[in-house]
């Protein structure tokens, strides 16, 4: 198996069949894929069969949607057990999920809802990230989310908040550059100032995507348009500081023709190749001292993985 590195694409049902058909094509700018485990767990039929075919060609990383790390309900044990089995099956080198609440008081929003940036939430998230990591055999990375309303009692800024969570949980960061751009735009902040406070040494993967201008001063993080130039520039700026971290294009709807989608991957690949080599593997409890995240298998040795905390994920409908 080759390593998750370079530029990847978030797998969606809308183009899964086409990608299977193209899996014999060279496609040098597409080196890995990311899937939402929830879309394939406990499931048979067309899409899991397609996933199996694609795994013969590309390595996969996994990106969850439903762990609800910020939620007040207990973590879902059955979900985590099923997830662990799936991650082992696809041999994902890490698993990412969001710093958000999606399920609370027994109700599931199926959205990534933001929370107050404060010390209480940092402590809450750290405890739950460790719980989740302990139940998985795969290192966990957490993703910064976009937020549209400033929750009450926020007394940290976003960069300090994310940095505190990652440091105290000793976990990896799945840095969504587009989310930083969206938040900076919507809340009148400087995106680079936010990124400067992020723990860039912990970044294991980055996301980029397009978004929608609902109002002149309000962006929705819709993933339904092409990446805009300011996000490319922000990615280039970030890659210059992180080195060559795997970069993933997310496109959830209004999927363009394959040639147009691939053209975005080619542009991202050029940015990635222009970035400096990464000095060392990202820091985390799961990866400590191993350098294993960039090894050939992309997975931690079992003993070290068990020593790690645990984490996880997100999904689509057919």
């Amino acid at each position: 198996m080759s390593t998750v590195d370079g530029v990847g694409l978030g797998l969606r049902f809308a183009f899964l069949d086409e990608l299977v058909e193209r899996s014999g094509d060279p496609l040098p700018a597409l080196r890995w894929l990311e899937c939402h485990p929830e879309n394939y767990m406990r499931r048979g039929g067309r899409f899991p069969a397609g996933l199996t075919r694609l795994r013969e060609r590309w390595p996969f990383a996994t990106h969850g949607l439903s762990m609800s790390l910020g939620g007040v309900d207990p973590l879902d044990g059955e979900y985590l057990r099923t997830l662990r089995g799936f991650l082992d099956e696809v041999q994902s080198p890490w698993h990412s999920d969001h710093l958000c609440v999606s399920i609370a008081h027994g109700r599931a929003s199926h959205d990534l809802l933001s929370m107050s940036f404060n010390e209480e939430l940092v402590r809450h998230l750290v405890a739950r990230i460790r719980q989740a990591q302990d139940r998985l055999s795969t290192p966990l990375a957490v993703e910064n989310v976009s937020y549209y309303a400033l929750p009450p009692d926020s007394d940290l800024d976003e960069g300090d908040f994310v940095s505190a969570v990652c440091a105290e949980a000793d976990c990896l960061l799945m840095l969504d550059v587009n989310n930083v751009y969206v938040n900076a735009f919507n809340h009148g902040q400087d995106a680079r100032a936010i990124l400067t406070k992020m723990p860039l040494e912990r970044v294991v993967q980055m996301h980029v995507a397009g978004h929608f201008y609902e109002e002149p001063d309000f962006i929705l993080d819709t993933h339904d348009t092409a990446i805009v130039d300011p996000v490319y520039e922000l990615l280039e700026w970030t890659l210059a500081r992180t080195g060559r971290v795997p970069v993933l294009l997310e496109r959830d709807s209004e999927i363009p023709a394959w040639d147009d989608l691939y053209a975005e991957l080619v542009r991202l690949d050029a940015l990635w190749r222009a970035a400096p080599e990464r000095g060392r593997a990202p820091r985390s409890r799961g990866a400590r001292g191993t350098g294993a995240l960039t090894r050939n298998t992309g997975r931690l040795p079992a003993g070290q993985a068990d020593d790690a905390g645990g984490m996880l994920r997100h999904g689509n409908t057919p």
């Binding site: 499931r43 039929g45 008081h105 409908t317």
Partner: protein
Amino acid sequence: MNLETYQHNLFSLLFGTDPEASVAALSNPRGRPDRWRRYRQMVRDRLEEVAENSFPRLREALGETWPAAVARWLSEAPPRSPYLRDVHGEFARWAEGALPDFKGAAPWSGELARYEWALLDTSYAAEEQAARDVDPAAGAFAMGRPAVLTPAHRLLRLQWSVHRAQVGYDLSAIVRESCALCVYRDPVSHDVRVLELGAFAAALLEGIARGPERALLEVFREAAEASDQSIDVELVESFAELVADLMDRGVWLGSSTAAARGVR
């Protein structure tokens, strides 16, 4: 506002019937209240879209009352599962119970929801375990062993012919008519197909589904009795043809590796 209170207010905003009270509770002096309203709209639009795309016949049948039905669903039985595709089943279970009493809904609306959910549920079903349960050396059917059916099938007993309603077609095709259906997934194309079952076939498949540890012979006899048929050469030949047909369709997988209950 602590985490518990914040999340209570947030989810009341999303699913409650008095969103403005939640907006007031959540608003920060530095923020904009309309952004909280946008969260409610986003979540509800997404869930409504999931229901609309997955229940196109029901959407058509409910017509102008559809938005009110969805709003009532979200307030009475909001989604609970972490899997988005489970929203379909959650909606269908609510619809089957609530729609017969819903103003403007046809009496077959609940059955239509159940039927459309069966189409989806069948397309999702995982079948790996069943394949491991089949003894290839036992042949297509060993009467002393339990039969194994694919998990990618659903059996429905309906009082209305809701399966005759196609998307975009005249819903008057739905008439009061008892029927038994086998909804199954083609193992090669993964397409979902629907079979109308005769009385014996329905009783046989239901008997197998009800007691996966029972010998096929026991289920066969019970099905003959339930469908008021005597066990003769004609029935045995029909049974063999039925099994062959179901095997071609990937519904009937074979005989179980396990012995039937009470059989040594």
